[in-house]
Amino acid sequence: MQKRFFHAGCVLTALLAVADQVSALHAQPSATPLLPQAAVHFPSDPHKGGTLRLAAQDSGGTLDPQVSYISLIKELETPVYDGLLAFPKFSGPAAQHVIADLAETVPQSEDGGRTYRFTLRPNLHFSDGQTVGVEDVAASFRRLFKVGSPTAGPYYSHIIGADACLHDPAHCTLAGGIETDAATRTITFHLTEPDAEFLDRLAWFHAAIVPASTPPHDTGNTAPPGTGPYRVTSYDPATGMVLERNPYFQEWAHDAQPAGYPDTMQVTFGLDTEGEVTAIENGQYDWMYEDLPLDRLGEVGSRYAGQVQIYTLLLYYYAALNVRLPPFNSLKARQALNYAINRHAMVIYHGGPAVSAPLCQLLPQGTPGYVPNCAYTKGASPAHPLPQWQAPDLEEARRLVRESDTAGQKITIVAPLEGRYAAMAMELRSTLASLGYSATVRSLTQTVQFPYIQNSDNHVQLALTGWNADYPSASSFLQTLFACASFHPHSDNSPNISAFCNPEIDALMTTAARTALTSPEQSEKDWAEVDRALMAQAPAVPLVQIRRVTLLSKRTRNAIVTLNDEILLSQLQVR
């Protein structure tokens, strides 16, 4: 399974936003009631028209919705493309489950979870006027393989014929995997084995439906026609991008793809983050893609509180401990670091308790299966966890280091050079030094560091990184990061950075995934058990889960934050 890591504001894709109600659960009590949604949300006073002015530091590269894995492009193109299914365009816990988009309904699985039958809505049109037909749907899924979509293998390999497509993309037919009937507008997917997350994956951005005539290669700076309320009318990666209304769009399901408010969305590339903040404060832009710089949080919070949106993301930062290299081939050494790390300090590095929360388990809050559980904090143990992290337990940590007989060993922390990672790496270094290790930090550019830490040939002992999911599921964290199958020796694409493999925990994961097909509730309990079992083995040190702070201009109204798409740009009203 392939994923990409959290890249503070740059390579971040498909950030899974949890409803504000959910995020408020772990916020400071004093901060929660002050979340400013009410201040900027005026659904009763809709205003259509105008130009929404957006700013981003850099362009996100290709506009091809089946190729791009950049969150900026996903956010901008969410109102351009649709899939058969979609994650709801509204806030709240109910938004965790997929709903019908281009399909009429969400189907029940047949054949023991191996078959899904969809009916395409009638009278749908692409933004170039073509009618959407079932062949476009089948062609879009074939195209996923032909263009080498980054999720083609990880997400869609269970479709019959997908293996052949992965081996020979140019001649991909998905024969036997997708059947279409134009007369009844039916599309039928046949899977090689049941996949509990198949419907989620059909709602994922890469499963966008594009015309069958779309070239079978990355379209680069040209966005293929879509079915959403907007279309891309100009794009220059050096300067900007313009989205205008799709003249053929008729709203068919408000919750799946609502009609947009602004007539035009104009994106400008090239401002730095400090400049973006100032421009929004001055009313020159309405929204910025990047995270707010930490040194501007105080100013924004005091002078522009009414223009701020805060929402939790399903992403966290963690330190992966290589269980096959000293000193972390010792369970006690791994547990010692988990006890010793000051997660409160990590929270401070991310802007304080209002915008981040300490994390000491491998499932972040908001994920199905999440049960608060902290085994490594003062007064807790894997056998007797507490619901929340309290404080570091240096005494216990030092005892474990003594017992592990690893004190004095050299440890190199490999961390990204950028932003908050550097401060977190220094905190880790200080903690390791206080435990008696000789620790150094090796900083690499993030784009180099992520593949580097995955490759076992580089013998990385401790890697600082982050992880987020494309959609809310426990498996995208636990199975992807810690299953035996996720460890690929000598490969740059081995998300199991800890090189952890425990057959018993693997079996628990398989059971939890299978149970999801028949009993989602039991599956969630099973995933919670996997989370606890993993933390008992401590293959990583979970550090902090963050919330995103977004600044909107004074003239912007109706900010809607959804589970999967963050702020819905098409729903922003400008006056």
Binding site: L34, D295, L297, G301, G352, A354, R429, T440
Partner: protein
């Protein structure tokens, strides 16, 4: 009977007298001495006065100011509770200039950073002068093919912008360290910036030295030594080198100033002094993210760099004036 006139003072003594008479140079020297001494006493300051560890993250810590315990990272006063800012200048011994984004005492780090910055600048300047003297004397004295090769090599190095050259070398060495046969230099060793900075400035010092040697080679005393059959190494060592020394002494402070700026730039770009060690460049980098809330973190090391570079330049000018015999003669006549 008339008293015998005292022998005239030697050229070095004369130069020293000239330098001592130069008030600006003396003030510059005093500033340099003060800063150097302060930086040398950094461990004493951190341990006994500030009572802090300037290399350990301390964001979750607190300090005693008077009778009050104060958090080092303080919540911003805003209704959304967004962000925390490091404590500002306290006016107390602890955290005199406030804290950086990792909760470390800026004043203590400033002194420790100064030790590294000054050490690197001084060592790089000395090493550069040694290399430049060797290259300049060899090119100027031996001439011919030696001169052609060395001069073209200098031209090539000179053609590459000095910072670009330094950055390229630093990126290669900082990630992997340096392995030269049995010698291994760790990536975080100060030797790496010292050697890199010394190398990139060699052409700047070697050229004037070569020019001076070319002139000396034609001097009568060198010709006489040659006619007498004095070996060339003796001529270089005892006739050329002493006459080049004044040029080296004048170039010294100027090269040190350039080296300090180069070191700060490399460290600011994270390819000079490596964390947790500090230099003035790394402290400015730490302060970059705090420029809106705690500008002192970036301003303090910036001021220190300005002061030292200014002092070195003024001292360099003073030395040039003091050692330039012809100029002194012109002034006295």
């Amino acid at each position: 009977m008339t008293a015998e006139a005292p022998p005239p003072p030697g050229p070095w003594r004369q130069a020293l007298r000239g330098l001592l008479r130069n008030r600006a140079a003396m003030v510059a020297f005093a500033v340099l001495a003060l800063i150097t001494l302060s930086c040398a006493l950094a461990p004493l300051y951190a341990r006994d006065i500030a009572r802090t560890d300037p290399f350990t993250s301390n964001v979750a810590g607190s300090i005693l100011l008077g009778r009050h315990e104060v958090d080092i990272m303080q919540p911003n006063d805003n209704p959304l509770h967004l962000g925390l800012s490091p404590i500002g200048p306290t006016g107390h011994a602890a955290y005199l200039l406030g804290a950086d984004s990792q909760g470390r005492d800026v004043a203590a780090r400033l002194l420790y950073g100064g030790r590294n910055s000054l050490l690197i600048a001084a060592c790089a300047a000395v090493l550069c002068l040694l290399l430049a003297a060797a290259a300049g004397i060899a090119a100027g004295f031996f001439g011919g093919l030696v001169d052609v090769i060395l001069s073209r090599l200098m031209d090539i190095m000179w053609a590459v912008p000095v910072y670009l050259f330094a950055i390229s070398l630093s990126i290669v060495t900082v990630s992997q360290g340096l392995k030269l046969g049995p010698f291994v230099v760790e990536a975080d060793s100060l030797l790496i910036p010292i050697v890199i900075i010394a190398l990139v400035y060699v052409p700047y010092a070697a050229r004037p030295i070569r020019g001076r040697v070319l002139a000396l080679r034609q001097a009568e005393f060198v010709t006489a030594a040659r006619c007498l059959g004095v070996p060339r190494w003796r001529i270089v060592l005892f006739d050329i080198l002493p006459n080049v020394t004044t040029t080296l002494v004048v170039l010294g402070p100027l090269l040190m100033a350039l080296s300090l700026l180069a070191e700060s730039a490399l460290s600011f770009l994270s390819i000079g002094v490596q964390a947790p060690a500090a230099s003035w460049g790394t402290i400015i980098q730490d302060g970059e993210g705090l420029i809106y809330t705690r500008p002192m973190v970036a301003i303090a090391p910036g001021l220190a760099i300005v002061l030292v570079v200014l002092a070195l330049n003024i001292l360099g000018d003073g030395l040039r004036d003091a050692l330039d015999v012809r100029d002194s003669a012109r002034r006295s006549s």
